[in-house]
Amino acid sequence: MTDMSPKLQPVMRMQNLDKVYPNGTVALKNLFLDVHPGEFVSLLGPSGCGKSTALKIAAGLAEHSAGRIQRPGEDEAKGIRARAGEIGFVFQEPNLMPWLSVFDNVYLPLKLAGLSRTDAAADVAAILETVGLAGFHDSYPRELSGGMKMRVSIARALVTKPKLLLMDEPFAALDEITRNKISQDLLELWQATGSTVIFVTHSVFESVFLSNRIVVMAARPGRIIGEIGVDAPYPRDASFRLTQDYAAHCRDVSGLLTRAMES
């Protein structure tokens, strides 16, 4: 029992979570998932397995039908709701406000929390520097490439210093070269900030490269069918993709995914 040791309190805990749509479709069935501080967990599965739905529920963007969920800072017994900014979310699309500059897009979460632009300036500038966009404060989203827009989106998700960062296939629309580069940068960022990440993907290779735990899901109904730990040490760079260890893990995960497809 994790309850025995306070050190292992999960950042987020899903217990027996169900999601049923009004039309009767069961999107998620009996989902149990604990995510611990500092973990990088990937949710991997075929389309329709409910991995994005699970992430949206974790973020509070969708309601679950049954079961329990505990988010960072939330205490059901005391009736405390999660504070805005405890959870960062990077969407499939960059979802930037086209009328705001890069700086103001990243400032938005702090602005909504009531922080003045001057007070937020240092934090915003720092996070933009970290994602490699120091020189782009005054650019507008339409002036940026797909990869750069995604970096702005990541910066916006991190600017509130969230306990939990949720990412929903964030790099799916990017070309492979950009994707590899931004994946590696994300790992560095994750290590530097010590945050906890849940990363939804349908790419075996991406999940093995990034995560220390891969949760494989199957569809109809959406459920977890197994998980695989990736114990390779960080920092990982491009050379990790060439190792036996990486190949072995990819094979294992693919095997599990094949079972997920057949079941």
Partner: protein, 284 residues
């Protein structure tokens, strides 16, 4: 291989794209327009003289200019009257259209309650209600009647565009606002309103020219001599067979309409310049 490099012809050092000066840009943009207009006027002038058309049917441009200069104070007074009514009606349409749009998008039931009536207001011909409105406000306050009629015409596009704009906020951006637990006001101020801005500005452009049309048509209908706008000048000159002055008033009306259109376009370009597709031109 020194010979080969030497054999290469000198590439002329020329800047690939010459940045044109501001004056040439302006000339390039407006030159054709002005040229076409001048050519049209010239052909008009020549054909009227050559074909011997009566000045009561189609006066030559020169005669229109003479009339314009001769009746300048009179025409300007009429323009001021028409412009005042139009601008006031347009301003009222913008304010009421945006407020109405806000009201309609508050709740689905409010929309169900009011939207059909807004459409009814739009499809009822203004000419048909004009006499009624003029009676209501009284003949001593015809200007108010004209203003109400011009507003009636200009109101709907403003309303319809605001409603559509406020509903058009992207789902993904709405999720961002939900994630950060934005209040209703914050959601409106930071998402709905900026997302609606291009729609509202388009509505304003349409409604500005409709206000001019509305004002003029209302004046025609009211046409009792108690109004003194440009439309009345046209009616009055018509009865006096002063066709050149009719044309003079017509031209001033067109120029006024153009000026309003240009002004609203300027505002639109200014507000959307950096982020909206419609103002980006061919730039990539």
């Amino acid at each position: 291989m020194a010979d080969e490099t030497a054999a290469l012809p000198e590439t002329p050092q020329k800047r690939l794209v010459e940045r044109p000066s501001r004056l040439t840009t302006v000339l390039r943009e407006t030159g054709p327009t002005v040229a076409a207009g001048l050519a049209f006027v010239l052909i008009w002038e020549i054909s009227v003289h050559a074909l011997g058309v009566s000045k009561f049917v189609l006066p030559p441009p020169s005669m229109i200019v003479v009339s314009m200069v001769g009746d300048f104070p009179y025409l300007m007074k009429a323009l001021a009257y028409t412009a005042g009514i139009t601008v006031a009606a347009f301003a009222a349409a913008v304010v009421s259209g945006i407020l109405g749009g806000l009201l309609l998008t508050q709740h689905k039931d409010v929309e169900r309650m009011l939207w059909p009536y807004a459409i009814a207001l739009q499809v009822t011909p203004m000419v048909a209600i004009a006499p009624l409105v003029i009676i209501w406000v009284g003949l001593d306050r015809v200007w108010l009647g004209l203003m109400i009629l011009a507003w009636l015409v200009a109101f709907f596009p403003m309303l319809a565009n605001t409603v559509q704009g406020l509903k058009s906020a992207d789902r993904g951006l709405q999720d961002v606002m939900t994630l950060y637990q934005a209040s209703r006001w914050q959601r409106f101020r930071h998402l709905q309103l900026p997302a609606a801005l291009p729609y509202i500005l388009t509505g304003a452009r349409i409604s500005s020219s409709l206000a001019v049309i509305g004002g003029v048509v209302a004046e025609f209908v009211a046409g009792s001599g108690s109004s003194t706008g440009l439309a009345w000048v046209i009616v009055e000159s018509g009865t006096m067979l002063d066709v050149p002055r009719m044309f003079a008033a017509l031209f001033i009306l067109s120029i006024f309409g153009l000026a309003i259109w240009w002004l609203t376009s300027m505002v639109q370009a200014r507000l959307l310049s950096r982020w909206h597709e419609s103002e980006l031109g061919g730039e990539r």
